[in-house]
């Protein structure tokens, strides 16, 4: 990245106020921040996350661990928050790479799950700010992270967490701490020099260390700011080195800076309702239209055929050993949808993963790659589902992709329903409602720490 491009990005994030941003972009940002908080709260209930919170708990800690009564160092709070936010695989993703990009289609970046944990930790530890400032910092950090994602292509096999999101987290912390423009540029460079060696394979086999990538990315973003203040500098040309060869390639500098303030990459990300790998969502959307919202007895289903594109068809393990493996199993996810009516917290619980009826049905889910569907990538993700019920009846549906992109956005009711279910798992229902109320009026909130207090159990 040239000095001019970095300077333009820094100037943009340092000087843009919410008044300069169209209302619909501000509202989009508030909704995605709300959704990220929901994922952090839902994920905080996972047993490994609970154990981490206990292990890292410090009663004198300067930051709360979201979704718990525990406190920790700001760095540990951000780490646990990022892990929690990732755990459900329900967090939002970046846009598809423009003009096709590499296949398999991997989301370009996931800034929110890096930004929000780090930013909330900074709010607890740094200068007070109001809700509007919190939202401003979130939006601008997201924009920078999303632009880095769409201006480059992740190398094959690289998982998007813990890579570009570190820079977004650094921007969030840098802005929260009031860094000068020059210091912010140095922090971005340093953050860009701290990507993890992440792997898609890790996620696809269900190795749950994947869920630590974004937490470490959030923490390393904070580290980049601390280290910059301490006088540490990244090697020369490290941004170019990283974005053009080491973790991604095809850096298109024009995409980094063109349309700053008028074209918002942050508004092009997707939000999930299904808490599993995005590739599986078209199959779930197709199947959901054929099923009851409350689920049904899996024994009533004789077989399910799914015709889909290659990368979804590859996710074909019917007996996942971990919750994350379940989130990368199309047969399991479809079977869980039948049983529960949705694919969210309970669908991947330890007890769900042991249910004989779900596992038996997963074994009756036949997944077939359709070459024509694969050829439609990345612009479309066609998938067709046929459910054969016992007794002879069958139903079919076909989709061209999955909901949650800006063009197929969920309704406010759907998104707030997700928030209340996930938040309600970690907080009591009154507190979950109160948190949502605070997030609805975030720009008017006088002190962002009021929100933090409500988000702790």
């Amino acid at each position: 990245m040239s000095a001019a491009a970095l300077s333009a990005l820094v100037r943009f994030v340092s000087t843009t106020s919410l008044r300069d941003v169209p209302d619909e972009i501000v509202n989009d940002a508030r909704r995605s921040l709300t959704d990220t908080v929901a994922c952090m709260l839902g994920g905080s209930t996972a047993e490994p996350v609970r154990q981490l919170s206990e292990h890292l708990h410090d009663a004198a800690g300067r930051a709360p661990i979201i979704g718990s009564t525990r406190r920790a160092t700001p760095q540990d709070a951000a780490l646990v928050g990022g892990i929690a936010g990732t755990w459900m695989d329900a967090d939002s993703g970046g846009t598809k790479h423009p003009a096709g990009g590499r296949v398999p289609p991997v989301p370009t970046a996931h800034p929110p799950v890096h930004i929000v944990p780090a930013l909330l930790a900074c709010v607890a530890d740094s200068r007070p700010m109001d809700g509007a400032e919190l939202l401003r910092i979130y939006l601008l950090s997201y924009e920078l992270g999303a632009r880095i994602g769409t201006a480059s292509r992740l190398l094959p096999g690289v998982h998007p967490h813990g890579v570009h999101g570190t820079s977004a987290a650094a921007v969030a912390c840098g802005l929260a701490r009031g860094l000068s423009a020059d210091a912010l540029a140095r922090a971005i460079e340093l953050a860009t020099a701290l990507p993890l060696v992440t792997s898609l394979h890790v996620a696809m086999i269900g190795a749950t260390v994947r869920n630590a990538y974004a937490g470490l990315g959030a923490r390393n973003g904070m580290l980049a700011v601390d280290a910059t203040v301490a006088g540490i500098r990244a090697p020369e040309d490290v941004v170019e080195n990283m974005l053009s060869s080491e973790v991604s390639d095809a850096l298109d500098e024009a995409r980094l800076v063109d349309g700053l303030g008028t074209h918002w990459e942050a508004a092009r990300g997707y939000i999930k309702l299904h808490a599993c790998a995005r590739w599986i969502h078209p199959a779930l959307d197709a199947a959901a239209g054929l099923l009851s919202d409350d689920g049904m007895d899996p024994e009533q289903v004789e077989a399910i055929e799914v015709r889909t594109f290659r990368f979804a068809a590859m996710l074909n393990n019917p007996r996942p050993a971990t919750d994350l493996a379940g989130k990368f199993s199309l047969p399991y996810a479809v079977a869980a949808l039948v049983a529960y009516g949705r694919v969210e917290l309970e669908a991947f619980s330890a007890s769900a993963l042991r249910r004989h009826d779900i596992l038996d049905l997963a074994g009756r889910v036949v997944v077939v790659e359709d070459a024509a569907y694969t050829a439609a990538l990345p612009a479309r993700r066609p998938t067709a589902v046929t459910i054969r019920f016992r007794g002879g009846r069958s139903l079919s549906a076909a989709v061209d992709g999955s909901r949650g992109d800006p063009e197929t956005a969920f309704t406010i009711d759907e998104l707030e329903g997700k928030f209340l279910r996930l938040a309600g798992a970690a907080l009591d229902s009154d507190r979950a409602e109160s948190a949502l109320a605070h997030l609805r009026r975030l720009p008017e909130l006088g002190d962002a720490r009021d929100l933090l207090q409500i988000l702790c159990g």
Partner: protein
């Protein structure tokens, strides 16, 4: 599965080659610990110092960076020793000097088996092998194989990507050392919490760092790595 996401094959388990350290290895490790502590204390980097840190990883980070800044990126092996020693100094569960000496000796043995031959390359080797070696040392006890594999594979997933031209950074190599130290601790904490790793993680790491698996081996596992690192550390302390 697509070739684009298939990792290379995994070598034999690393920990099977690592034995209980002897008296000399412990003595050298004890000196390394003392020097790294002294370098960290001398630097007294207030900006990076946490007030309280029950998990230990922020302390490991601070010590790794503080001690690492006394070295240059050319002292790659010494930076690996900083990673391993800072992790041991910060680990709350290592309550005796004997336990910390053992952790460092084992950790550096593991680093020696992971390091590619040839010159040190801090932009590749720091924040990577020390993270894995450090984790092995921190958790070196009579453990079942699946626990040991989990620690190794989780640690390998927390390693940093490599950078070129590291010498042009100011203190950046030290940040990598701090990350390695902190991540060694976090790997053990993560495994305690139930996180699992990828059996192919070290192979994937080697591929991403541009190191063929055949190049890594026991070249530096004869104790000379620790001794060389100690010489460089003591020079930095003068």
């Amino acid at each position: 599965m697509s070739d684009e996401v298939a990792p290379p094959s995994f070598p034999p388990p690393l920990w099977t080659h690592i034995a209980e350290p002897d008296a000399n290895e412990r003595m050298v490790s004890g000196r390394i610990l003392a020097v790294v502590q002294a370098l960290a204390d001398r630097a007294n980097r207030r900006e990076l110092a946490p007030r309280s840190d029950p998990g230990g990883s922020s302390t490991a980070l601070r010590m790794g960076i503080a001690a690492g800044r006394a070295l240059g990126p050319e002292a790659s092996i010494a930076l690996n020793a900083v990673e391993v020693a800072a992790a041991a100094l910060a680990a709350p569960w290592l309550r005796s000097s004997s336990a910390r000496e053992r952790a460092v000796a084992v950790g550096l043995n593991a680093v020696g088996r992971l390091l590619p031959p040839g010159g040190g390359d801090a932009g590749r080797d720091v924040g990577t092998w020390g993270c894995i070696g450090g984790a092995i040392g921190l958790d070196f006890a009579d453990r079942p194989p699946d626990r040991r594999e989990a620690v190794v594979t989780v640690a390998a997933s927390l390693a940093l990507a490599k950078v070129d031209r590291i010498s042009s950074g100011e203190g950046y190599a030290a940040v990598r050392a701090g990350h390695g130290a902190a991540s060694a601790l976090l790997a053990v904490i993560f495994v305690d919490a139930g996180l699992t790793g990828d059996p192919e993680a070290i192979g994937t790491l080697r591929e991403r760092l541009g190191v063929a698996s055949a190049e890594a081996g026991s070249h530096r596992a004869d104790g000379n790595l620790a001794q060389e690192a100690l010489v460089l550390l003591e020079l930095a302390l003068r």
